[in-house]
């Protein structure tokens, strides 16, 4: 049977390789190299090349291993959680049905994909670590080759440990709660190490000691390297040995969702990605509401009430995630205020991800367009009414971020600037989350099919970057407070920028209100251009020149038949992209 499995895989590999065109492969390699180079150059610019002061070096040497250890602990905890849900392997559906249900040793059948995943993760970790090492050498003493080698090794081993932990959890069928407890324990231990409660004790700190060998090579660093290697190889080995115990039910659920997730990500359909990720995590709303009370209720604000009822059914995991993201944003902004400017991006992205949860009411509206269309109101008018609760949720979460930021370095100024930033981030991140959600999937047909790829590519890039950029703009009051203009206080400087951010957010909210009407006008204009002249008519005329028997190009188009009420839903419950376009009749 194992020989038959090997033959099956060899045949499929042959076919796959046969279908790869060398031009495509070269183009992919070219794109990867180009994007990689751009990323390294941008990161280099952010990191700068000013050498650290002796005091900063001492701090980096003392806290660096624990800080890196905290990141590794979070990654391993994520691996454990993924493993408890059947990850990290995403086995092909046909393999689940035919191989895992066949009379084949599952460990033997899964060893190859598991090894492939470990190899891939190790390579990616190695590259990321090596890039980080190359950046570190610009500001820290030591040999560049040493930095690249040790940081690369630490990154590779950390990635292998993460995937290995997932394989162990998956093969041993670790329950979700147990994975959460073990993961939280690891993160807590690493955090305690960083906070110097139990200095130098955490096992994940070993990865940090290996990464920072060029800074301090002593017996502790060597031991750290050994521990990191043992942990990574041990977890990978344990994972490979036990992978046969994987749950077929979890594997099948995962394989279907991961396939759809990749497709949705390709289309930049953010909402579908979120819904599928929640399904993967089995994150469902609670059946019973946490509260019966509805603030400002009694039917005066039905959209607010609807959103509130959804909010009080949020699963615990979503609440915890929102608060954790707020805390991350708060701590990152404290770091940005202390001089590490690139941390504003971390804070902004954390706020953006939190906002994607906060705009759940609006997202539900978009998921069920036929319900919204049955309401005698413009869609934009309803959409914009979902935003107040989202802003309120973000502001409430922001208070947790503010508490975290002030706890790191308590001061009255931090509190006042932080309070202004909470308002600014709540507005801007909600605007970003709302724009990202209403955007839907990329449409490559219709009028956009006529523009050159360079233009549609730019448009797609802007679609991708603009929503999170809005959230990043929301944290700018913190930066303004670090460089107040002469004659003003940091709080006043922050207030000025916060006011500008509020204006920007108001503009975005207004756009959401009128978006449908504007798009409809553009579509009408395109149709008019198509039937009476313009680009489409020119293309049609060119076609006619080669088809003399066709009807005259200026024959009026028949009136467009209204599309049937679109209730064909994708996995998220949203209509497939083509359902949301009016059918156009080409001349």
């Amino acid at each position: 049977m194992t020989a038959a499995l090997a033959d099956l895989r060899a045949a499929r590999r042959r076919r796959r390789l046969g279908e790869i065109h060398w031009v495509d492969a070269l183009y992919k390699a070219y794109l990867t190299a180009l994007l990689g180079t751009i990323a390294v150059l941008v990161l280099s610019g952010w990191v700068g090349d000013a050498e650290l002061t002796p005091a900063e070096l001492t701090r980096a040497s003392a806290d660096g291993p624990a800080a890196i250890g905290l990141v590794v602990a979070v990654a391993i905890a994520g691996g454990l959680r993924s493993g408890s849900r059947g990850g990290p392997l995403a086995i092909e559906g046909a393999d689940v049905r035919h191989v895992l249900l066949g009379p084949v040793d599952r460990r033997a059948a899964l060893r190859a994909p598991a090894l492939r995943q470990l190899r891939h993760a190790g390579f990616v970790g190695l590259v990321v670590g090596a890039v980080a090492g190359q950046l570190a050498v610009r500001r820290m003493p030591g040999d560049a080759v040493e930095w690249v080698l040790t940081a690369g090794a630490a990154g590779g081993l950390a990635a292998v440990a993460t995937v290995g932990a997932g394989l162990v959890a998956s093969g041993r069928r670790l329950p979700g709660w147990a994975a959460t407890v073990v993961g939280a324990g690891l993160v807590g231990w690493a955090a305690a190490d960083l906070a110097a409660v139990v200095p130098g004790s955490s096992v994940t700190g070993a990865f940090g000691r290996l990464a920072l060998v060029p800074l301090e090579l002593d017996t502790g660093a060597v031991a750290g390297a050994g521990v990191a290697a043992v942990v990574a190889v041990g977890l990978a080995g344990l994972g490979l040995v036990g992978i046969g115990g994987l749950s077929v039910e979890a594997a099948e659920r995962r394989t279907a969702l991961v396939g759809q997730l990749r497709f949705a990500a390709t289309l930049q359909d953010l909402r579908t990605v979120i819904v599928l990720r929640r399904q993967l995590a089995q994150e469902h709303p609670r059946r019973a509401a946490r509260l019966r009370w509805v603030p400002g209720g009694r039917g005066r604000f039905p959209v607010w009430e609807r959103d509130w009822r959804g909010l009080v059914r949020w699963p615990t995991a979503r609440i915890v995630r929102l608060l954790a993201l707020a805390a991350v944003a708060g701590v990152a902004l404290r770091g940005a205020a202390a001089g590490t400017t690139p941390l504003v991006v971390v804070a902004g992205l954390a706020a953006y991800v939190a906002a994607l949860d906060a705009v759940e009411g609006l997202a539900q509206e978009l998921d069920h367009p036929s319900l919204a269309e049955s309401i005698p109101r413009e869609r934009g008018a309803i959409h914009v009414r979902h935003l107040p609760l989202a802003v309120a949720v973000m502001a409430a979460a922001g208070l947790v971020g503010l508490a975290a930021a002030v706890a790191v370095d308590p001061s009255a100024e931090a509190a006042s600037v932080g309070a202004l930033t909470v308002v600014s981030v709540a507005l801007a991140a909600t605007a970003g989350g709302a724009i990202g959600t209403v955007g839907g999937a990329v449409e490559q047909s219709g009028a956009w099919s006529l523009v050159p790829p360079e233009v549609s590519g730019m448009r797609n890039a802007v679609r991708l970057v603009w929503p999170p950029a809005l959230a990043v703009i929301g944290v700018l009051p913190v930066l303004a407070a670090t460089r107040p203009p002469e004659g003003t206080t940091p709080t006043l400087a922050a207030a000025s920028v916060a006011a500008l951010v509020a204006l920007l957010a108001a503009g975005v909210f207004a756009w959401i209100r009128v978006r449908d009407a504007v798009r409809a006008s553009i579509a009408r204009a395109m149709e008019t251009a198509g039937s009476g002249g313009g680009v489409r008519a020119a293309i049609a005329a060119a076609d006619e020149a080669t088809r003399p028997t066709s009807p005259a190009p200026d024959t009026p188009a028949p009136p467009t038949a209204p599309t049937a009420a679109a209730d064909r839903h994708s996995i998220s419950g949203r209509p497939a992209p083509r359902d949301r376009r009016k059918k156009k009749v080409l001349p």
Partner: protein, 226 residues
């Protein structure tokens, strides 16, 4: 001597959170028996079949296939599962599916019998095509081919007639009858009440619970599931 049942479930139950998809079920099906599983949508037919196939894990109870625990290699060798949603490789032709999957289950590969089956299912002219490009009905025929061209003693079939034209249905009914005649045990979930005339036993489910277990006429089935 006591016969080892082909399928035995003991207090088998499946729930999703607070939703019971299948209430505790004790079931025994002896070798060579053909059984129709009927019930309205959401009654638990597919859940039961998936539990027996090993695709779902029970919330409670257990399943034995020819005395072996479901999921064991012996049980997997005995069960062939024909789902209502054909799951096939995108990059293998029909013939390659039979060749490799039959061998994976200890069969001879795409031998003369398999070629005969390909012909009977009307796939001869498409045998070297990729099923990924097939219509729903042709994919269903390919799934039937893959399921029947490997050795099995328990055949689980979920809504087999969906997507098949009249000729395809006739062929499938003949093939199922031949499998029973060859000694295989059949468990077929279907909405076609006429099919119960062709089986030894009919199990009707409603909201995850067995409401009938025994012979039944099509008229009785209609009354049971409506």
């Amino acid at each position: 001597m006591t016969t080892v049942p082909t399928l035995r479930t003991h207090a088998l139950a499946k729930s999703y959170g607070d939703l019971d998809a299948l209430a505790p079920l004790d079931l025994r099906i002896d070798p060579g028996t053909s059984v129709a599983l009927v019930g309205h949508n959401g009654s638990g037919k597919s859940t039961l079949l998936k539990l027996v196939a090993g695709l779902l894990e029970p919330s409670d109870g257990h399943v034995e296939i020819e005395g072996a625990e479901v999921g064991s290699i012996a049980a997997r060798a005995a069960v062939s599962y024909l789902p209502d949603d054909p799951v096939l490789y995108d990059d293998l032709s029909v013939r390659e599916h039979v060749e490799y999957l039959s061998r994976l289950h200890g069969g001879p590969g795409c031998d003369a019998d398999a070629e005969d089956l390909i012909g009977r299912l009307g796939l001869a002219h498409r045998a070297d095509d990729l099923p990924a490009r097939f219509s729903r009905g042709l994919r269903q025929r390919t799934a039937v081919l893959v399921g029947l061209s490997r050795p099995f003693s328990l055949l689980l079939v979920d809504e087999p007639f969906v997507g098949l034209d009249a000729g395809g249905k006739r062929t499938l009914l003949d093939l199922l009858a031949e499998a029973t005649a060859a000694g295989a045990t059949l468990l077929v979930a279907t909405h076609e009440e006429a099919y119960v005339d062709r089986v030894d036993r009919c199990i009707a489910l409603r909201d995850g619970e067995v409401i009938h277990d025994g012979p039944a006429t099509p008229g009785e089935v209609v009354a049971l599931v409506s």
